[in-house]
Structure formats: C-alpha cells, structure tokens
C-alpha cells in the first residue's frame, strides 16, 4: 500500500461510519445511500490533497452531501421535472416533507420508532442540520461548512427544525389523530 493510501486510511477512513449514517439520513433508499457513500469516498480519495490535515469528518460529510445532491439532480432530470430555482432558506411554512418516500414508508410500519420516523419526515433542509448536530455531534462551524450556509442560518434553521420536530412529536405522543401524516 502506498504512502498516500495509508494516510487516507488513517485520516479519512475512520469517518466512513459517519459518512454512511449521514447518507442514510439523506438518501431516499438504502441503495441510494450505498451509492452515495461509495461515490463520496472515491471523490474524497481523489481530492484528498486538498484536505491537508483539517477536520476530516466535516470535509468528508461535505462531500457526501454534494454527492447526494448531484444524485438527486440527476434523478430529477431523468424524471423530467424542471429543477426548482435556488431557494431562500425555509421560512417555516413547510414543516413536513410533501410525498412519502419508500424509506419512511417502511419505517412507518414500526410504530416503536416514532421519533426516527418523525425525523425522516422532516424536510431535508431541517433534517440534515438536525442530524449533523444531534447524531454527528458537530459544532455550528462544522455544520455551516458542510451545509454551506452562514452560521446565522445554521442557528435559525436548527431552531426551526427542533421546533417542528417537537411539535410533531408532542402530537404523536398525545395521539392526536392525523397529527402526523
């Protein structure tokens, strides 16, 4: 094994599980997550020299996120759905993702995993930031770098994500009918 590969395995490979978890939360299917992580690891390996010993975890997760959005755009193009214009940060009107996806549908069968399902149902802009903070335990700076938004946006979006999740969670716990669709 050459020296570059050894460095990659020492510095980046330890975060493969983080990359995989993040991809699972982003992608619409387990297969999509597999493809996304594999592509991300290849891109990371090719661009490894740009890392120069910095925060490898946040760097890798940024690449995972880019791979995911590339794949998403390709899917949309194949489906001949026009790409939406670049949008401003969510302003709180869309608290629940529109269509059910295969993953959340399969999760739905397991009622014990309520919270997991509620997180999966959050819009992506909320979900990714919440996962980076609560599951990947990243700080605001790292999140801002991964999501590529200013710190202020990280803070406000995180607050909205938590408020939305908590609201849906309470409705679920209290068993309000039709609270979470």
């Amino acid at each position: 094994m050459d020296e570059r590969r050894q460095r990659f395995e020492a510095q980046v490979l330890p975060y493969l599980d983080d990359a995989y978890r993040f991809a699972r939360w982003l992608a619409r299917s387990p297969e999509g997550a597999d493809d996304c992580v594999q592509e991300a690891m290849l891109r990371a390996y090719r661009g490894f020299d740009a890392l120069r010993g910095a925060d490898a975890k946040a760097w890798l997760l940024t690449i995972v996120r880019n791979c995911h959005s590339t794949a998403l755009k390709q899917q949309q193009r194949r489906a001949q759905v026009p790409l939406p214009e670049e949008q401003d940060p969510l302003d709180g009107q869309a608290l629940i993702a529109s269509g059910p996806d295969p993953e959340s549908a399969s999760i739905r069968r397991d009622e014990a995993r309520t919270l997991e399902r509620l997180v999966a149902e959050l819009p992506e802009e909320y979900r990714e930031i919440l996962i980076l903070r609560e599951v990947e335990d990243m700080d605001y700076r790292g999140i801002a770098a991964v999501v590529n938004v200013p710190l202020g946006t990280v803070m406000s979006r995180l607050a909205r994500a938590r408020a939305a999740l908590r609201k849906n969670w309470l409705q679920q716990v209290e068993g309000a009918p039709g609270a979470v669709r």
Partner: protein, 259 residues
C-alpha cells in the same frame, strides 16, 4: 413571539458559548420562564434523539467494496478541480489547519452569539463571506502589495476588474486579493490591512438587489457604493470613520482610473 434570547439559549445547550456568554445566559434563565422552558425542551429533545435514533454502521460488504474501488484508483494524486464550490471548501479547510487564532475565534463567536436579523440577503452573504475569511484565515489567494500584480490576477480568476490601489502611506496597506462567490458570481475581494484590522473590499457586477449605503451588523461595518457597472462593499470591524476614509480613498482612485 419567542424571546429574543432563544437562539442564545440554543447555542448554550449546544455548547457553543464561552464562559462569559454562558454565565449571561444562566442569569437570563433565572428570570425568563419562557427560556427556562425552552432550555428544558432542548435538553429533553437531545436526550431522546440520542437514545432513539439508530447509530448505524457501514455494512461490511459496502466497506469491502469501497476499499476495492480505492485499490483501482491507484496512488497518484489528482489535481483538485477549481470550481467555486470546491474553492470555498478548500479555503475553509486550508484555513482550519493554520487557524488565525484568537481574533478569528472571537469573530466567529461574536457571529454565533449575536443573532442576526438581516433584511437584505446580500448583506447576509457579504457578512458571511467576511467572517468566513477571518475564521478560515484564508484571507488571501494572491499575496501581493503591488496593485500591478493583484489587478491582473483578478482578470484570470473573476468576472470583474475592480479598482485596486495601495494606500500604505495613509495607513491602509494593500495585502492581496481573493475570490469569493457572491450573488451567484465570482466576486473580486481586495484585502487591505489597517492596523490590526482586515478590510475586505468586495466587488461584483451590479445586480438588481439594492444595498444599504451603510449598515452595521454584529459589530462589523459595511459600506456599499456603486462605481461604473460594479457594486462595491467594504467590510471591516474598524471604526466607522476609518472605514469611511478608506472608501473615500478608493472612490478617489476609482475616479482617477476612469479618466
């Protein structure tokens, strides 16, 4: 209407506040019932999430597949691509290594702690770009005190040709140039040093977004003006009159260039 301190309470729960800010928030919590409730909720939610969400690991087959793919790549380094996205990424990571230290950390923290209430998304972008450049210590792409080096450099790296001048004798030293991504285009940033302060002068092809002439956000002053078909914005944490003097000098140099 939530309490104005709610984002600070969140930052406190997320461990983003230093000792002094934490103490201030703890004092606030003593007399604000709403924030006490929020504080409790955030802790509960975090605990529940960490307990309930699966901590998935990479399937062994996928890991093996990835390692095989890396084998096929070989060991040669690939040149990094110079797209704006990658560039911003690189600047952040390169900066994160060297770390400009306390000043940058303080700038970052100030930005975290003071909740922004931006009306103009462009002001938000400008301030974000300024703070990012300080945080990452990647202030400069082309290091030069010579305007005849900096100006041509922009021609190859951005879509604009801004006014570049050195005012060393007046206390504003040209230290280099940088590219930032602003309003969906590659903006030129001329970097000056005034005492211990960095002044970033952004310039980009004028868009339709209106900008305030002067605005202060989170302790940073922004002064914006238009010259020819370019929008300019100088951002710094210097005193107001010092920034104004810089802008006056730049506008004068710009007028000379036009002749």
């Amino acid at each position: 209407m939530p309490c104005a301190e709610s984002l600070q309470v969140q930052a406190y729960v997320d461990g983003e506040t230093d000792a002094m800010a934490s103490a201030a928030i703890e004092r606030h919590l003593e007399h604000c019932a709403e924030c006490r409730g929020l504080h409790q909720e955030l802790i509960e939610l975090g605990t529940a999430l960490r307990r309930e969400l699966p901590y998935t690991q990479t399937p062994p087959a996928l890991r093996a597949q990835i390692l095989r793919a890396l084998d096929r790549e070989g060991g040669a380094a690939h040149p990094p691509r110079r797209t704006p996205g990658i560039w911003r990424l690189r600047s952040y990571w390169m900066g994160a290594v060297s770390g400009l230290g306390a000043a940058a950390a303080a700038a970052a923290l100030a930005f975290v702690l003071i909740v922004p209430s931006f009306k103009s998304p462009l002001v938000d972008e400008l301030l974000g770009a300024h703070v990012n450049s300080l945080m990452s210590s990647h202030v400069i792409d082309v290091v030069s005190t010579d305007k005849h080096t900096v100006k041509p450099w922009f021609a190859g790296h951005t879509d604009v040709s801004p006014v570049v001048a050195d005012f060393d004798s007046q206390g504003y030293k040209l230290i280099g140039g940088r590219v930032d991504y602003l309003e969906h285009q590659r903006a030129a940033v001329v970097v000056y040093q005034h005492g211990a302060h960095i002044i970033n002068v952004f310039s980009w092809a004028a868009g339709h977004q209106s900008l305030p002439d002067k605005v202060t956000r989170n302790g940073y002053h922004l002064m914006c003006w238009k010259a020819g078909d370019l929008d300019y914005c100088a951002v710094s944490d210097t005193a107001w009159d010092e920034l104004q003097e810089m802008v006056r000098l730049l506008q004068g140099a710009g007028a000379l260039e036009q002749r």
